[in-house]
Symmetry: C2
Subunit: 241 residues, 2 copies
DNA sequence: CCGAGTCAATCAATCGATTGATTTATGGGT
DNA sequence: ACCCATAAATCAATCGATTGATTGACTCGG
């Protein structure tokens, strides 16, 4: 028994040390996303993170230099993750990118694009049992109580996403994407997309759904689609209060 | 100096012991709402709560029997607070209560009522510098990760509020208030009303508002009013995806 | 004097961080 | 091929600080 688990999995020519290094580092970040997201920075314990990652506590200090730096590393990881998601969105919108940017895309088409965008986002949230989307909790916490981690995530990825949302809403409402109302709606829309992760626990309880079956998912999808479609309405007469 | 602070504030005939008892109890709950709301149950320390309340740690055990029971006492306090808010809403809707309940209130009028309801809610959030509305954080946390505290709050007050919201939305969309889609929208609407407290920190950062001046508030109010007005739209043709 | 209420002091447990020892992988010399 | 020095990585053990909880003494009004 001269080989350990790491050796047995060494299928390429990567040096074993680097492989173990990256592996432990990745597992620590993965575990940290989960624990930081559900417990917050102060509530999370490095012992729990290390245990969840299947390694020793001191690995955190060794790989990241402490709890705080691990937290920031998680932020960078999430920023990268969201960035890839935004890349996917931009690919989805590639054909109409020019018309979206200058606001010449017809409102009806912009609605359909925004619905598809949100639909894909939502399906990932609804399908995922628990593994992947714990980062939303992390972002929600940082959004509510911003630290340096929020700045990193925002500057690296969220700002791009908000820009796209604003452009689409601008097309829908025939308003410049830079206008205050459009940008505000973009922020609120992003908040709604994030909150679905948080609210679906409450939704289940409120509506008596023990699990989200296909009927429930379709109801939620329809509500989201309607929410987007309603962006078409710009009613000035309702501002009377 | 034979009198302490408690004695100096004893302006009525309440026995000093009872007054001190209720006073400390109240200050502890008030502090606990703030600390539990911002830090969560595990992240909050009884020392910080006691210090914020200006009393000794052991008072928590004396008055509530421990950290956990204090947490539940906070939940009951919040339930009572929301309950009073729902009472105010019901008073606001008193004249139209019957028509709302049986769904005969015209959609346009229901929109105006719902706008006024949310407007009052929003103004309290926006006007408050920081003192009062920390309980929203508590509820948001519990909504995301329900414990026994959530059941207490929900059963005592939120359920009533959701019922009213569903009835109003039912009037607006000419659908029964018990239907799944209407109830889902009521839950999501309540989530939005709660989230404004959380999101306005992000909104300030996204939109470059360092503080919420009157112009910013009006922009938010207009966005909320439009959001409600859009409930009038029930577009079946947009469910195509 | 009695009980209600508060206080400082202290408990075991756990926190983040650090240490020195141990194991593992790499590279150079023979 | 073989050995060994060096570095990389992880480990158990421990540090002081802080956690929630408890205790016994103390100060009051009744």
């Amino acid at each position: 028994m001269s080989q350990n688990l790491v050796q047995q999995n060494n299928l390429d020519d990567t040096p074993l040390s680097e492989k173990a290094f990256d592996d432990t580092r990745q597992r620590l970040i993965q575990a940290a996303v989960s624990v930081f997201g559900s417990q917050g920075f102060e509530g999370a314990s490095t012992r729990r993170i290390a245990a969840l990652a299947g390694t020793n506590i001191s690995s955190i200090a060794y790989h990241f230099g402490g709890k705080e730096n691990l937290y920031l590393a998680v932020a960078d990881h999430i920023a990268q993750e969201i960035g890839q998601k935004v890349d996917g969105v931009e690919a989805l919108l590639a054909n109409e990118r020019e018309r979206i940017r200058n606001g010449t895309l017809p409102p009806a088409e912009a609605v359909v694009l925004l619905q598809r965008l949100w639909r894909e986002w939502l399906d990932e949230l609804l399908s995922n049992k628990e593994p992947g989307y714990e980062w939303t909790w992390f972002v929600i916490r940082e959004q509510a109580n911003p630290t340096e981690a929020f700045d990193r995530i925002y500057n690296a990825s969220i700002s791009r996403f908000l820009c796209i949302l604003a452009e689409l809403i601008g097309c829908i409402q025939q308003s410049p994407a830079q206008s205050l109302t459009v940008r505000l709606q973009a922020v609120l829309l992003f908040g709604k997309m994030l909150s679905f992760e948080r609210e679906h626990a409450a939704v289940e309880r409120y509506l008596g759904w023990k699990t989200l079956d296909e009927t429930a998912k379709n109801t939620i999808r329809a509500a989201v689609n309607e929410e987007v479609a309603r962006l078409l309405v710009r009613s000035e007469e309702t501002l009377s209060c």
